[in-house]
């Protein structure tokens, strides 16, 4: 086992002997970038970062050139002028992983001259800088962040005060007013109810009623504002849905209590109406929080677009901001850089990596006149393109818009629950009308008070709270265990899933080349590795990555006329075409090998014959066997789908204990298999690495991606096992099942409570104090019950067929 880097915790490659001096000790590091970052942090006196952090740092990348950020045209949309010596810029910081990072950034940037203020928002990964444009220059500040190992992306000014932030702040204020108002109203309520039992002077009672009216007013007018404005909107559209019944209930309870106070007779329900508003808002607040969490995807895509571009002018090239680009401009893109906008290729040909946009990891070869997509990466270069679409018209902007919209839609469970709540309120309103009619027949004097009691004692908040509270709790519990739930709906499906399909490479096993066992036929081992790394340059397949890391530190030659196939690459190095790939690939191209060679090693060859053979070894993930066994004991079917050699797939399947496997499957074959499972009415959970399997993951009922970074950009995965590795699958399933059971019990409880309370209230047997206790107790039951998720791991073995979210209210 290699030692790990002190700064970024990556394995240190063999043959690297670098050390950083931090705190009077030498610590091993993996590369020059990490050493520079660690020593700079030490030099600033901030070495306690290494003690405070809970996540390892990001490996510093090659220092990007930020000098273009000096141009005023480029700064204009990003930097806000507050006063003559104060400028504000908000930067999205890649690699900001834990609170210690924000501590480090605040300290390190705070020491720079001319920086007035640094504030870091770790959850949103944003840094806000106030600086003096004379003594501090923006490129220097960005450079400082890069030196710490963070990649900086200045955000445009309109992204500064995000809608998300405003929404969350407004919701917090409304919730606080409702909460404090409810507490006060309840206090006065207790005084009034005590008077019911012990006797109270009428004037004192009226005094407390007026006080309740006063404190409940901001709750109803300000906090419940969204319900009323929503109801108004629905009324204008002549369409009743969520808000109208709730607004009617809140409005009529408050208004009736107001009349009672003015006339000094009847009952008042100011405490109950405040409580109703508070619990309803609490449910919406929980749901908003879980919705906001998924916006990481948008950030990941926004990062794709570079802020600057090289434009051709009559006299040469100039660097401009992307927002200055016009249709018809010709821009130059360096090798490895990201395309700033959509355009047409002018250079003869190039390879582009569109994996983050399409999920396709194989590089695309483009010829002159082909259309290129902004956000994809030019692997060869420099190339020139003519811009065709800019700004919001680009494909990337469209994708971001689409995902933003998807992120702002509510989880299906939550909106189902909300519909249930408003349907329920509608039924309660009908029950209230029936009560009025019935009492007018028997005893008109009691009609109004009984009708009001029905309205108050019914508890729509238990319905409105049930789904958001349970989901929020489940997502939070899973996040603590390293499982990110991207779509809350994925939990519902996961609880029902009865067939788990695994991808092999990158999921159950991690392929690796066996450097020690390379057989070299010509030249040296290092030469062979350097050529192999050159051919694999820019490819995202895990094997290519391990070839590149094995060749780290070697001089990599240049490659021209590169060609990619499914199982190999070729290119011209030093005047000779070289081939790297599976035996079959090399045999079909170079005609130097026997086709029937059964070895599954990587072969490097040219027209004169084999140069080297790089054997592969495969490490089966340590936890895979345990997880498959655990799933199978719960009577869940496990399958292995892979595009790999049958021999290796069989070996891996045998090791982890999966009996059903399919080898040499193309993505289309994998999709077909999933469709076949669907046809057997199976609920399929697909576990893949999220990069090479994007289309297959999208085809499954619930997609679980194992991975980091790039995988986040794929909205096709509902659940992401970020830090937990495969172990997360079991926790996720356990929690998902618990969540669905809890939700079902919560809804049952709410129905039982209401069915028993409403008839009593319509008979006029429920006094206001009992209504207040009943309503708060039923809401607290729901919240308390939700909080029990993740605590009782004893109830692990639940039968999955019982856990189908029913909508009993809709049927009642």
């Amino acid at each position: 086992m290699n030692p790990t880097c002190f700064h970024c915790s990556e394995n240190i490659p063999d043959g690297t002997h670098l050390a950083a001096r931090v705190g009077a000790h030498d610590h091993p590091v993996c590369c020059v970038g990490c050493r520079a970052a660690a020593e700079w942090i030490e030099g600033l006196g901030l070495a306690s970062y290494y003690r405070l952090r809970s996540e390892s740092a990001q490996t510093p990348v090659a220092q990007p050139d930020y000098s273009a950020w000096d141009r005023p045209e480029l700064q204009r949309p990003h930097v806000r002028e507050i006063s003559d010596d104060r400028r504000e810029v908000v930067i999205l910081v890649e690699g900001l992983r834990c609170a210690a990072c924000s501590w480090l950034i605040e300290r390190a940037l705070g020491t720079l001259p001319g920086v007035h203020e640094v504030s870091v928002n770790a959850p949103a990964r944003r840094v806000r800088l106030l600086f003096d444009p004379v003594s501090a220059r923006l490129p220097e500040l960005l450079q400082a962040l890069a030196k710490l190992g963070y990649v900086a992306h200045p955000l445009t000014a309109d992204a500064v005060e995000t809608l998300r932030q405003q929404e969350s702040r407004k919701a917090m204020k409304r919730l606080a007013v409702a909460g404090l108002g409810t507490m006060q109203a309840m206090m006065y309520g207790v005084a009034i109810y005590a008077g019911v039992f012990n006797g109270i002077d009428d004037s004192v009672r009226d005094f407390f009623r007026w006080l309740s009216l006063l404190v409940a007013a901001p709750v109803v007018i300000y906090s419940a504002g969204p319900f009323f404005s929503g109801a108004l909107k629905e009324w204008r559209m002549r369409h009743i849905s969520m808000d109208t019944p709730i607004a009617i209930a809140i409005g009529s309870i408050y208004f009736a209590s107001l009349i009672s106070t003015l006339l000094r007779q009847g009952e008042v329900y100011f405490d109950s109406v405040s409580m109703l508003v508070f619990f309803l808002l609490l449910g919406r607040y929980f749901e908003m929080r879980s919705r906001h969490r998924s916006s990481d995807v948008v950030d990941a895509l926004a990062r794709l677009q570079p802020p600057i571009a090289d434009r051709r002018t009559s006299s040469g090239w100039e660097t401009i901001g992307v927002h200055e680009l016009l249709v018809g401009d010709v821009v130059r893109i360096a090798a490895g850089a990201t395309l700033p906008a959509d355009g047409i290729l002018i250079s003869t040909h190039c390879r582009t990596d569109e994996s983050l946009l399409s999920g396709e990891s194989v590089a695309r070869v483009r010829k002159a006149g082909d259309e290129l997509i902004g956000g994809s990466i030019a692997l060869d270069g420099p190339i020139e393109i003519e811009i065709r679409r800019v700004g919001s018209e680009t494909l990337l902007a469209g994708i971001v818009r689409m995902i933003t919209r998807a992120g702002s839609t509510r989880p299906r469970l939550a909106s189902t629950a909300d519909t249930q709540a408003s349907r329920f309120v509608l039924r309660v309103l009908i029950a209230m009308v029936l009560t009025v009619v019935a009492w007018l027949w028997f005893d008109p004097s009691r009609a109004l008070s009984s009708a009001l009691a029905v309205l108050v004692v019914s508890c729509p908040c238990a319905f409105a709270l049930a789904a958001p509270a349970t989901l929020t709790r489940a997502v939070a519990v899973l996040a603590r265990r390293g499982v990110l739930v991207v779509e809350a709906d994925a939990l519902e499906v996961l609880a029902r899933a009865d067939c788990f399909v695994f991808d092999k490479t990158g999921t159950l096993t991690h392929p690796d080349i066996d450097v020690a066992a390379i057989t070299v036929h010509r030249g040296t081992c290092n030469d062979a590795l350097a050529i192999a790394a050159a051919l694999e340059d820019g490819c995202t397949h895990p094997l290519a990555a391990s070839v590149r890391s094995a060749a780290r530190g070697l001089e990599i030659p240049c490659v021209s006329e590169r060609e990619n196939a499914r199982d190999g690459v070729s290119g011209i190095i030093g005047g000779t075409r070289r081939y790297l790939g599976s035996v079959a690939f090399v045999a079909s191209r170079a005609n130097v090998l026997r086709r029937d060679d059964a070895d599954d090693a990587l072969v490097l060859a040219d027209m004169y014959g084999e140069i080297a053979r790089i054997p592969l070894r495969e490490k089966v993930d340590a936890s895979a066997t345990r997880i498959v066994a655990a799933l199978q004991t719960q009577n869940l079917q496990c399958e292995l789908l892979s595009g790999d050699h049958p021999g290796r797939v069989a070996a891996a399947a045998d090791t982890v204990g999966i009996s059903k496997w399919i080898a040499t499957a193309t993505p289309a074959d994998k999709l077909a298999r999933i469709d076949a499972l669907h046809a057997q009415s199976r609920v399929v959970a697909m576990i893949g690495d999220g990069v090479n399997d994007a289309p297959v993951l999208a085809g499954a009922d619930v997609a679980i991606a194992v991975g980091h970074g790039a995988a986040l950009a794929h909205a096709s995965s509902g659940i992401l096992l970020a830090d937990s590795g495969l172990d997360g699958i079991l926790s996720a399933r356990e929690i998902a099942i618990q969540t669905m059971l809890t939700l079902k019990r919560n809804l049952r409880w709410a129905i039982a409570y209401n069915l028993s309370a409403i008839p009593l209230a319509s008979l006029g047997w429920v006094p206001p104090w009992l209504a207040a206790i009943g309503m708060s107790a039923s809401s607290l039951m729901v919240v308390g019950h939700s909080l029990s998720i993740g605590r009782k791991s004893r109830r692990r073995a639940m039968q999955p067929d019982r856990i189908i979210l029913e909508t009993p209210v809709a049927n009642s």
Binding site: S102, R107, A124, Q165, Q184
Partner: protein, 58 residues
Amino acid sequence: MNIILLLIPLSIVLLGLGIAAFFWAVDDAQFDDLDTPALMPLAEDDGACATMRESSAE
């Protein structure tokens, strides 16, 4: 009993002040990041400690 005629309006005024303070705190971004500030006292911060020591020495 008449004291409640004074105390209760007083409590409502305090409530109003509390809500105003909370609104200010929300608008001042105090609730946007709840993780980082927890680490602040753990760090050996020379600058802040020095000013604190100075002020306590006075």
